[in-house]
Amino acid sequence: MRIARILGAAGLAAFVAAAAPVSVQAQQLTIWHDLGDNGVAWFERAGAEFAKTRPGVSVRSISYPTDQWFGRVISALNTNTAPDLIFNNYERVIRIQTQTNKILDLRATLNEIADKGFLGEDDLRVATFNNRMIILPAQRVQMAFGMRASWLAKVGEQFPQTWDDVRRVAGKFRDADPDGNGRPDTFGMALQAARPRDLIHMLDLFVFGSGLRHTLIDPQGQITIDRPEHAEVLEEFLKTYTEYRFVAPDTINHSFNEMYQVILGNRAGMFRVGDWNVRGWDGANALAGDFVSGPWPSFRGRPNSVVIGGMRGVAVPENSPNRALALEFAKFLLGKEAQQASLELLGAAVRKDLNVSALSPRQQYFARAEHRLAAYDFPESVHTFYPELEAAFHRKLLSGIANPPRDWKPFIAETAREMRELAARLGRN
């Protein structure tokens, strides 16, 4: 009898112990992203605000390196072990949806938000894929042209206004010992080209920053790269990697990490500055604020711009363990408190009524959006085959960079022809 009582008590204790975490877990939202420590801090702050009106609810965010994020999200969604929410760039969520078909359509959720006037037509278009709203847009990703301020002073130049200025300054950065160490160890620009996808950001800057509207294909399905004004820009882009010798000779092996090493290692004078870079680069351990951001230089007199390179947003898997609460939190991320925190911690938001006075001048450059902004054309939302077409395009450009032709014009014409054939084939399937 005594043994039975002891066993009974032990069983009850085990049941309580097993049940207790379940009841807590039911109130905990998990979100997977790739925003690093700043992202973790953002979700922590937003989660704390969210919990003020929902006692007992907590938000736990986990940041993975981007490559790992893909694999984990896809396998979790496909094995019904999904987190409550996921957060990333829209095109990455498109890839998740393509591989899983398990992202909730958030149109109804968006309609429930009263205060959403800050989301423009472009923002909503980019959030849509195959007639489903797969993300609630939360952060516009802006990219500008960055320059080492001390190097500009050393070579006696101003921030370049035109592409010709860029070529002249890049040459000086390479040849005029701008770091003053007496060794020829500096480069004009920091780029990346290890993997086909590595070309995307700088290609966007060249194209959209120069006033063009499409990197590869227009909404009608026409390939644009061999149109004269586009071919000119593309040729300069390819020459920047090759015959101009503005970049480190190993750039063809450089991915994000190596490119950042070149930038932070004081080896290149010009680089892409994303709004997400500024907070870190302002700090003492990185560039210590020795950089100035501006719009992409004007090309042949066309209007130039800072580029909206993408949109980050929150998505909810169909098999989210706490779906209703997850949708509530997704909406909350567009609220003023969460957006203010996003701006302060990550340098990006979608709302326009935020307080920017606490930001550094370089962060304010993006936050105030005072310069002309050109948005990426989001062809993924128009042509569902675009990711495959774009991958082939990047691979082709990379083959040219690896084996530079004597004349780029026939190469561009050949690339355009190949892309037309591929687009026609993919469009038929």
Partner: protein, 296 residues
């Protein structure tokens, strides 16, 4: 049948002892391979779920129709051929030199120097090689410059990337093959060489007719192991080249890994299964080749 059962019964103690290890081998060795093959017949989106959708050979058809995969497989085979020959030749020569009675001092130093890279973490080693080949500050080009030689493209040039990767891998692996050769050399019957010398055989003839035939076990082990090793080349690509430049080092393992990364499990495991089949076929072929030359 009865005879087989009878034989098994007579050896029951042996089977009882072996059974746990056989079970472990099946659970941790064979089962994952079988699962991987199973996934290769399913649609990627459902591959990891409890009720996968089977698509027959569709993933194999997709993979074999992909020109990038075909090029990747061809490149993998070419690289494997080059790497096996280079590694075994280097290892054999190093073993022969270290085993030579003329090298009276320093054998331990050379053994250690050549074997240390084997126990060095491969990622760390390849990161160093990447720096050595760097065209801005790498030692290789600094030395070439000093000697008045043309610059070496290293991993940044489509013309030299295979050679650069091969050198890094040779540094990492050759010590292992050398150790196998050295072990076999130590076990050989030296009396045969003395007899051959008394019969008037020169050094070349002694190596060709007396020593080499005794090294068949080492050659067989090294050939099979190296073939498997280089067909699966992966880490060096991840660390040094990421498959580039222009796909020149996009070997099958790395290509499959990229598809895994995109959640294309069906195609990725189809690639892995095809590579597995090639590994088995070539390894058995290499083994059979060595066995047949032994018979002759």
């Amino acid at each position: 049948m009865i005879a087989a059962v009878d034989l098994a019964w007579r050896n029951r103690i042996f089977y009882a002892f072996v059974a746990p290890f056989a079970a472990l081998t099946i659970v941790f060795g064979v089962w994952p391979i079988a699962l991987s093959v199973q996934v290769s017949f399913t649609a990627s989106a459902s591959a990891l779920g409890t009720t996968p959708t089977y698509v027959g050979f569709a993933n194999y058809a997709t993979v074999l129709a992909d020109p990038l995969f075909v090029a990747s497989m061809a490149r993998t085979l070419l690289y494997t051929g080059l790497a096996v020959v280079a590694n075994l030749a280097f290892a054999f020569l190093a073993a022969a030199l270290i085993d030579s009675p003329r090298l009276r001092r320093g054998t331990m130093f050379f053994r250690l120097a050549l074997f240390l890279p084997v126990v060095t973490p491969d990622v760390a080693g390849y990161v160093v090689w990447r720096w050595l080949f760097d065209r801005s500050f790498g030692v290789v080009n600094a030395a070439a410059d000093l000697l008045g030689l043309p610059p070496f493209g290293g991993i940044a040039s489509v013309d030299t990337v295979l050679a650069a990767v091969l050198i890094a891998e040779l540094w990492h692996h050759a010590g292992f093959y050398m150790t196998i050769f050295l072990a076999n050399l130590a076990m050989r019957d030296r009396a045969l060489e003395e007899a051959a010398a008394i019969d008037g055989a020169n050094t070349w003839q002694i190596w060709r007719r007396v020593i080499l035939p005794q090294l068949r076990p080492a050659i067989a082990v090294n050939l099979v192991y190296a073939t498997i090793q280089f067909l699966k080349t992966f880490t060096v690509v991840v660390v040094m080249t990421k498959g580039g430049p222009a796909d020149r080092t996009n070997f099958v393992s790395y290509y499959a890994y990229q598809l895994f990364d995109q959640g294309r499990y069906g195609e990725a495991t189809a690639m892995a299964t095809l590579l597995f089949a090639v590994v088995i076929a070539l390894s058995l072929g290499a083994l059979r080749f060595v066995e047949r030359s032994e018979v002759r």
